[in-house]
Subunit: 335 residues, 2 copies
């Protein structure tokens, strides 16, 4: 319960004014090396820790950024988060973890909280495309970069995988393998990632002269049970229209799809081929071997943080940049 000493305690101990202590600890030139060393030694001995709250108040900078993501439980995000976090510690920043559970309202409340906590910047993943509240944040001038979420706003920077291209590659690969009836199982419809992957899907069909079959396009949420549920429905419908391949908008959905397929006595990839998106770690397990579109998750996290730093340090406008990362189709054994 020993109370932490303040800068004044250190000053008293050293017999100088607390301004001098501050200057000594921050290595200002206008204090002699001698007293500087003496003060630093005393501060160490006393276990002095600068109060970052007080520092933040006067410096108007908290060395803190908020990370708003929809679902820390989806293995995609921890990988990204780790990249962000690693870059953050190197830069001396700490991050607030804000999990929205895909709830736009909770996301909005988090904005207010983070603004109140005076974060220096924001990294936001998708929760929905309802951007009315996002506009408010961007207008407030707080530096923000979006990950895997495209926002149509002048000064917003986004780091996203080329969803259209990735989906297109995946579906065209399936077409090359001879598939003609390819289903699309998406996540929440109001998430741009889901919409763009659908767009890549339709584009691939178009490019190869295949007709769009609306009954083969289903959306739910980016979770495993959603994929399981949807695929079961697809399989229950008339047999003649059963797809021979499924492109799932993320790996969790794909895992649900696989489970449904197997439980219906069908085999993968013989009866139905499955391709996912994200390439989470478990996609590479020998038992899974999911063919999927890979994203550089960890590097995406690092990149997100470093561009945020540019915004913060640059001070200028966020000039609406949109950084596109390249997807890579990883062919394994479910296709």
């Amino acid at each position: 319960m020993s109370v932490i000493p303040t800068i004044k305690d250190v000053a008293r101990e050293a017999g100088v004014s607390y301004a001098t202590v501050s200057r000594a600890l921050n290595d200002h030139p206008e204090v002699s090396d001698e007293t500087k060393k003496r003060i630093i030694k005393i501060a160490l001995e006393m276990g002095y820790q600068p109060n970052a709250i007080a520092q933040g108040l006067v410096k108007k900078e908290t060395k803190t950024v908020g990370l708003i993501i929809p679902d820390i439980t989806n293995p995609f995000f921890p990988e990204v988060a780790r990249g962000i976090e690693d870059a953050a510690v190197e830069a001396g920043y700490t991050i607030f973890l804000c999990n929205t559970n895909w709830d736009a309202q909770r996301e909005e409340r988090y904005f207010d909280v983070l603004i109140q906590k005076q974060v220096d910047g924001l990294i936001i993943g998708p929760s929905s495309e309802e951007v009315s509240h996002l506009g408010r944040v961007l207008d407030s001038g707080i530096k923000t970069v979006f990950i895997s979420r495209a926002i149509n706003h002048a000064n917003s920077t986004s780091i996203i995988i080329d969803n259209i291209l990735g989906a297109q590659q995946a579906v065209e690969y399936l077409i090359q393998r001879g598939h003609r009836k390819i289903a699309f199982i998406g996540g929440q419809e109001d998430i741009s990632a889901s919409r763009e992957r659908l767009q890549g899907y339709t584009q691939a069909l178009n490019n190869n002269g295949l007709a769009l079959d609306e009954s083969l396009i289903k959306t739910g949420s980016f979770k495993r049970d959603s994929g399981y549920f949807i695929m079961n429905q697809l399989l229950k419908s008339d047999d003649c229209n059963r797809p021979t391949a499924v492109f799932a908008a993320n790996d969790l959905l794909a895992l649900g799809v696989i489970q449904a397929v197997k439980e219906n006595g069908l085999s993968i990839p013989e009866d139905i081929a499955v391709v996912g998106f994200d390439d989470i770690e478990f996609a590479s397990l020998p038992e899974i071997q999911l063919t999927t579109v890979s994203q550089p998750k960890y590097d995406m996290g690092r990149l997100a943080f470093s561009t945020l730093m540019e915004l913060i340090r640059g001070g200028g406008y966020s000039s609406g940049r949109k950084i596109l990362l390249d997807p890579v189709l990883v062919v394994r054994q479910t296709s």
Copy 2:
């Protein structure tokens, strides 16, 4: 770039002193309902957001807690984190995410940072058992609860699964199934969770009159590639001493083990049975069906936060409590 209004701006607009604004917004009784409403309305219109940094400085409370965990990439921790986070938002708290990558030094540096940021409390998962720096933190009086990490310190509260019991159940189950040569593959030796699970393992052997075979006890780190590596080594050694079952100290290790077993042309569970620990979501996948000891991860997170709240609100000492949660053996198809 519109600058956020302060309480003084609101006061000027409302024609009152800023003290009155503060009182109105905090619903103090000594301001008339009339002006209260008027001020609140004006504050809303101006988009006023209280500066939590300034509030924290005077109230000596930041509504912020630090979460220090070793590996956000291990699916065990996101589940716990989600529980913590959900409980935190309900209580109006925000959490700092601190990932140590199992690095004790990084953990130690995070202590200082979080103390400087004046967190109201700390939730700490295991990084190592090197507790010299932990003692410093506990002595500082900051309210702390440990998850899945037992600390021998007077005023520390821990929430842990009964590792000994869980491991014992798992191994005795294997013994009942007729196994006599059961290997133990652990995580870092300086993690109490790993040590206690080893303890449960030996206890189960003892209880059933089985001799300990040191050559069947291996440790590495709590990661999949570690399990893969160790299991390969075990299989490379002389065939006559090959185990017929493996108890892995967590599910990630077990997944690595399974991969190694299969790659060596052996089948599970016929040639070698495998049991894990944690019951991460992927253990229940139809392709995996891992027999494992289940932990109530989400609830553990909620519990961790609520007991932290008790410590903070109670103000008293953390009275060295140790809350033991019950493990549940989930039998699937790898045993």
